[in-house]
């Protein structure tokens, strides 16, 4: 293996056909490279296995893809790896809010709702969607800048909700610090 001494932050994704043992296999491969899993999410999306990880270690993307090759060779899993510059974490300046949208599935719900948030500088920090039968559900955590006009935002969200025929709610997600 080529020697690298630089510590890299790597963004790695693995998506594909679900089966027991994917996480064990992928994390064992990364561990053999000396990669430290920092933040990650791993879930099933409509039955497809999906994991996104940020890892830190003295390897680069080709080392990662090489180590994962036995898992991806049969086409069951797709892996990507890219070096990413370190980002400051925990530097949230806005106030946290929880957004919930549910209604009949139709094109453009996520785009319309997140568009309203983006207009006022709201930053989505977490978002999941689910389609359950004909019911579409969006749930998100959003940091809103202190300059945001909350009443105006609610008015705009109501307009979008009426146009799409969905229910929208936005509530403060402030934590009680004990």
């Amino acid at each position: 293996m080529r020697q690298t001494t630089q510590v890299n932050e790597l963004a790695i994704t693995v998506v594909g056909r679900d089966r027991p043992g994917i996480i064990a296999d992928v994390s064992a491969a990364l561990s053999r490279l000396g990669l430290n899993l920092t933040d990650s999410t791993m879930t099933l999306l409509r039955g497809h296995f999906a994991m996104t990880l940020i890892c830190v270690g003295e390897v680069d993307e080709s080392d990662v893809l090489g180590m994962l090759e036995p898992l991806t060779a049969d086409g069951g899993l797709l892996a990507t790896a890219h070096r990413v510059p370190p980002e400051p974490s925990g530097a949230n300046t806005g106030a946290p809010y929880t957004l919930l949208v549910h209604g009949a599935d139709r094109l453009g719900i996520v785009a319309a709702v997140t568009g309203v948030m983006a207009e006022i500088g709201g930053n989505v920090t977490d978002l999941t969607t689910r389609l359950s039968g004909t019911l579409y559900l969006l749930s998100a955590e959003i940091d809103l800048p202190s300059s945001a006009d909350f009443d105006e935002l609610l008015t705009k969200l109501d307009e979008v909700a009426d146009r799409l025929g969905v229910e929208v709610s936005l509530r403060s997600g402030d934590a009680d610090v004990l």
Binding site: T98, L100, H102, G103, A104, D105, D126, L127, T128, R130, S132, G133, T134, L135, Y136, L137, S139, A140, E141, G165, V166, E167, S169, G173
Partner: protein, 165 residues
Amino acid sequence: MRPVVAAPDSVLSRAGDPVDPLDPEIVALAADLVATMRVAPGCVGLAAPQVGVSAQVFVVDVTGHPRARTCHGTVALCNAEVVEASRWQKGREGCMSVPDLTGDVKRAGHLVVRGTPPGTGEPITLTTDAFEARAFQHEIDHCAGLLFLDRVPGPHAIFARKVYL
């Protein structure tokens, strides 16, 4: 028995109208809610909007449920409201009208509810706790046009339902 409607039916998102508990149609509706609840396996409560009627009527029966403590048997109430709520606890809920999802929702573990049983003109006050309190709050929410989905605390509190009773 009446067919149960599922989200995204708009009747589930509309606040139900207050009703006259002495109206024979409301008494019949409550009886149908009980019958419909009885035949649905695992169902411990049903509200009028869930059978397509936008009205403040619901039934609850948590008899024999392992998480129930206080149990009033079969309860039907019109125009019910929460009088006191305390001891908030998180718990995972499902709903016949959202058949494939469950969610973690905070509900009061101690609850005082006032409402009028159908067929009577006399409001009653019930004090309950644990699972029956959760069931009451879930059904009162239905009567206000709210689903448990409206109360989940964030993106990672909604789950695919695994078990069909």
